[in-house]
Symmetry: C2
Subunit: 429 residues, 2 copies
């Protein structure tokens, strides 16, 4: 049976929006690099494939809680030196970087980490981000994806601009074999890049390319370029639907299967009840008034007089809702399948929203993860711990050993590079 893949998606004090309010939270340490080094070492102790950072270029609504703090590429350089095996994945936006910057920094990090770098290619979303990088507004979705494809091609070409054996270092002769370092001469619609890169070919050939295609265009880009994919799946059926669609597109692009890892929020307890208690403890930290106001906005009706610990009333069907459909659909789905109280619904929305949430004992959660992998919904998971480090300690100490006992997850690293962990061949040049 294929090994499962596990990523730790690091986000502030955890993916639950109220996690920073917990008395034991690390909110005072968010600008302390040692906090992130410790998290990477914890994930490495659990033999995870990688840690992963999302990224954003606008401060956002920070009164409510931390969003971004340090910049991911600089963090990963430090984390590379605090770990030995674990992969290190950073989001880099094709809308805000030049391909030369991206190729150069990622190649440098691949050297610094000894071949453990991954790049999550995103096109970014918000006008507030565009307006920090010289644009009045975000380019259209189509325009962003056209740029992203040219961007990916250019970055790959830059990594290929040095052959693996270009460095000769002949003290009586040449430093490099100049015929093995070639210009790129890319003159495309969005970019002009002569090359070659200043950095010799990365240890992995190419740092591993991740993508999280959701839209039609995003899925096609992922199918053509991604070597591993992050997904959003609320439950197994939606995971299966995404999985089979994506692998079909990958196959149509003439490429071998790629690992697909849906996001996963877990609350682990030695009993079902303890797990629920951990979830409730975080949910109860949410400021009720502002959460109510937000939900009222999301569903287009005033919820200020709904009872906090009573079941949420039924809502009008999706067709009858005129606001943004995506989030409304998620809310309908949570209400229909989980019959939550208002407090539970607010908590679910505050922790990974449309992502799968598993609450229970290590055995129960391992059962579910196994089912997803065996029934064609996932090749592994991008773990979104609601609180850090607590929730991921629970996974490392309780769920991982259970997966290992079942032969579903590695007991030791078998290789040194992120490509090794993901079973990906190294592209030669």
């Amino acid at each position: 049976m294929a090994n499962m893949h596990l990523n730790l998606f690091i986000m502030g004090c955890g993916h639950h929006k109220a996690a920073w309010r917990h008395p034991r939270s690390s909110v005072e340490r968010l600008a302390d690099i040692r906090y992130y080094e410790e998290l990477a070492r914890l994930a490495e102790r659990g033999r995870f494939d990688a840690v992963f950072f999302a990224d954003g270029h606008a401060a956002g609504n920070i009164a409510d809680g931390p969003l971004w703090t340090l910049e991911p590429l600089t963090m990963l350089a430090a984390m590379a030196r605090a770990t030995e095996h674990i992969g290190l994945i950073s989001t880099v936006s094709s809308t805000f970087y030049t391909p030369f910057h991206a190729a150069r920094m990622l190649a440098s990090l691949d050297h610094i980490s000894g071949g453990r770098l991954g790049w999550n290619l995103v096109t970014s979303m918000f006008d507030s981000e565009a307006r920090n990088h010289g644009l009045e507004a975000m380019p259209s979705h189509a325009e962003r994806y056209a740029r992203a494809e040219e961007f990916a091609n250019t970055v790959l070409a830059l990594w290929d601009s040095w052959s693996d054996d270009a460095l000769v270092r002949d003290r009586q002769g040449d430093y490099v074999d100049a015929s093995r370092v070639r210009p790129v001469h890319h003159h495309g619609e969005h970019f002009l890049v002569d090359g070659p890169l200043t950095v010799p070919r990365p240890p992995q050939g190419h740092p591993v390319l991740f993508q999280a295609g959701a839209s039609d265009q995003g899925r096609d880009l992922a199918a053509r370029y991604a070597e591993a994919i992050y997904a959003v799946a609320y439950d197994l059926p939606s995971a299966q639907a995404y999985y089979s669609d994506l692998q079909a597109r990958v196959k149509a692009a003439g490429r071998p299967k790629v690992a697909i890892m849906p996001g996963l929020v877990t609350y682990v307890g030695s009993t079902e009840e303890e797990a629920r208690r951990k979830q409730r403890e975080l949910d109860e930290l949410l400021p009720v008034d502002s959460s109510r106001r937000q939900l009222s906005q999301f569903i287009g009706q005033d919820v200020s007089d709904w009872e906090l610990d009573a079941p949420v009333p039924e809502l009008p069907p999706l067709e009858a809702f005129s606001g943004p459909k995506g989030r409304y659909a998620t809310i309908l789905r949570i209400i229909e399948s989980e019959r939550p109280t208002l407090r539970q619904l607010l908590g679910r929305l505050a922790a990974g929203g449309g992502h799968c949430t598993m609450v229970g004992t290590p055995e129960r959660i391992a059962d579910e993860m196994q089912r997803w992998v065996e029934q064609g919904g996932a090749d592994g998971f991008n773990l979104m711990p609601p609180s850090l480090p607590d929730s991921i300690e629970d996974v490392v100490e309780q769920v991982v050993p259970e997966l290992q006992r079942r032969g579903l997850f590695r007991r030791e690293y078998q290789g040194r590079t992120l490509r090794d962990h993901l079973g990906l061949a190294r592209p030669g040049r």
Copy 2:
């Protein structure tokens, strides 16, 4: 007496172009981050103010020897974690980055290093670099400096977008005091940046701003913004001329004196003769044919039949030379003041060219450094070791103790930040 400042300018295997050819060179380690960490620790053992990286965005003529390898910002993140006190300075070009990228990465590194970051602002020079970042050619000198000034203002404004006390972290209330995180709303000729930054205010308030203004426009920019200055000075009179001109411009800009550090190439030996031998050993590693060809180009006459170990013949005066004047003037100056053989001239040009070169015993070199500082030529030096780590080990182990005995250089670090080392106040906000 004011303390002298010392920077280690790290460049490949050393600043001598043939250093990588030495049997003991670290040429095999240029993509190994541990090499740079060791150099930073060595400089920290010598109580240096900082290590410093130049930067370039084009591979250059790499057959002859290494130029760039890893990317400096990612290197400095790792080096920050391998050291405790020493400052860490990276070049970042205002022509190729957006101010938001620069402000964000430098702020992040200032947090990662606990307040030890410096930024050397350059405008870059070569068309080959421009053509890696989407430009057909470099903008004009005037255009680059206009952009650089707007760039510096925008970066400073982004660092100021968070007040020092913006982070409230009240678990029962707000994460930040929203009134202390303000947008920038910069809509200038070159940049549109709304802000605020995603990174909280850097520990130093502002990472220390370095500049190396040489042209008239460059000197004015340095006078208005730089908190420390790198200079090129062939000898004490030219150092004094630059020093007094620059400090006059600083004063005219209404700012206090800034530390000026000329580049300095040293060959240290326990005897004068041993020092000369070390210089000769590196010079003899230069490939003679290509060095002759290059010199022929520089001076516009064929030197292929000049004798290698005979004195260089006199050259036509500067006025009679129609090629690039700067380098020709340097060559004339070396010939006039040092009466070198052809091999010596080739060696001098291969190691820091127009920068001051001191060859001799630790006492002799300390004498010279003291003279420069006492006679208004410098506040310290940007050391450009011809070979690494050998030449800088010699400085740390032999020259620094001599300077310390004379009370000219710190025996222990007195503070924790680069601002502390340079005696610069922290800008509050």
